[in-house]
Amino acid sequence: MRVCHLSLTDFRSYPSAEIALDPGVTAFVGPNGHGKTNLVEAIGYVATQSSHRVATDAPLVRHGAERAIVRALVARDDRRALVELEINPGRANRARVNRSPVPRPREALGLLRTVLFAPEDLALVKGDPSERRRFLDDLLVARAPRFAGVRADYDRVLKQRNTLLRTAAATRQGRRRSARRQDDEAAFASAGAGDLLSTLDVWDTHLVRHGAELLAARLDLVEALRPLAAKAYATLAPASAAADLEYRTGVKLPTGCGWSREILEEALRAGLAEARQSELERGVTLVGPHRDDLHLALGELPARGYASHGESWSFALALRLAAYDLLRADGGDPVLILDDVFAELDGHRRTRLAEIVAPAEQVLITAAVPDDVPAELAGARFDVTEGNATRVR
């Protein structure tokens, strides 16, 4: 898979840009802040409809412009797809595929698949669990775009349920206060409580359904990633302790005999039942995949809080490389994007990483100085200065 052409309108620093890309390696080289990452960020956005740098779309639109447009012509084997995304901060984005509008932007997911390595990846190891959940979910979506729907549904049920719990918590407090005033606790305690619980049960049903689907997919994914990440880490840091992954969930999974969707639904339901009282008190959903974590270990120790800077870097790279392996095994070599990573690596890891990525169908690299592009990855080159990208090789 590769991007043949990228076209930008009002994306980040670019009022407009037209960039033709070849298969193989292409490096974007230029001084800090001149617009290299902006280009590869746009390609990543076509694949995931989110940025690897920011959580919202607003910074992606050029300052002063109303909307940004990113177009990518994607080739897979001998088929071509033109993906066009219109980014409208604060309103719904729009997407077209081969010039036809699609009902929802997420239907344009899956046409381009990328694996993006960036300095921000360090947060996979050092950051909050939400970073690692996002890593897993993004990978699920890349492998099967329908998970964009599962994830969106789960987030929506969660939001509805949390709102209900919050309202309930507020009402209970209000009721307790006025009950004290009126000395008639029983009457107030019964009013409306049945109604609340019956709707909470309804949201539980849907939370369990979508939550179990997400949980099942993540558990499968981690099983598949585990050996691949361990192998990649061993290649990058042969002297270090072995790397391992484990999916940690607050849902009590049955030990031993494995699990099915039904078992997970049952476990999630039981978890909610157990947490019900604290949830009502705190006004927030306490069990479910939104509270889980991907635990990373080096030997006996957790990576987070223990691993050295270099080890953390290697682990983050290993996770991305494992994702790459998995996507490649699914068929359709993803486009590899390496944003500013080589400058951060020592000689050994630089060479290993270069060897691993060199055979990919398309590799896009950004670097501030030409020397940061390893010799193994010589290829096409664009000079990026003052917001202009010019092909020089």
Partner: protein, 199 residues
């Protein structure tokens, strides 16, 4: 910000569904430039709809009289009630010509985010209609999105003790969307293939 009355108009328009601040401004300036007679006609239509149109006291559908056209039609099957969120869903289903029963319009779907709970919907009225035992099937045709599904689940549980047949439109409807956007053929087929809802 514009002069008082203009800004007032923009603010009012901006409260309408699907109208953002930019469109509100565009509509306001369109009206400012329009022929006074055209604007009068629009204003009249707005007032008239509020004065003349009301909601059917039986099913909650928009009606020109006490009861809507469908509730007054003796040929409609009184044993089947199709529950929808909005009057516009009645229009969409009527177009398919698949359904000969009666309707019940809830006036929305359960959605805590929007502050809508069961008490804010016409659920009590529905229960009253079911009380005499004449209705044998309840078709839950709320939107195929999360809130519509949740509302269907809620209703199905609520009427379960009454022992009637409770069905849900077949899948095949575009998930996550609105009923009214489904084309006639798809919606008709969803009616044909409705399934028993097990809760």
């Amino acid at each position: 910000m514009y002069e008082g009355v203009v800004q007032n108009l923009i603010d009012e328009l901006g409260l309408l569904p699907g109208v953002g601040p930019k469109s509100a401004q565009r509509i306001a300036f369109h009206l400012l430039a329009a022929d006074p007679a055209d604007v009068k006609r629009l204003a009249h239509a707005l007032l008239e709809v509020k004065e003349r149109v009301r909601f059917c006291r039986v099913c909650g559908n928009v009606a020109a009289e006490e009861e809507c056209r469908i509730c007054r039609d003796q040929r409609r099957d009184p044993h089947v009630i199709c529950v929808v969120e909005e009057s516009k869903d009645v229009v969409a289903i009527e177009k398919t010509r698949e359904f000969r029963g009666r309707y019940h319009v809830l006036g929305g779907a359960i959605s805590p985010i929007d502050g809508v709970g069961p008490d804010d919907l016409r659920i009590r009225e529905l229960m009253a209609r079911l009380a005499d035992g004449q209705v044998t099937e309840l078709i839950l045709a709320t939107d195929p999105n999360l809130e519509g599904e949740a509302t269907a689940t809620y209703l199905a549980r609520l009427v379960k003790p009454m022992g009637l047949k409770v069905t849900r439109l077949a899948s095949g409807l575009p998930v996550g969307g609105d009923l009214e956007y489904a084309d006639e053929v798809t919606l008709g087929r969803a009616f044909e293939g409705r399934r028993l809802l097990d809760v």
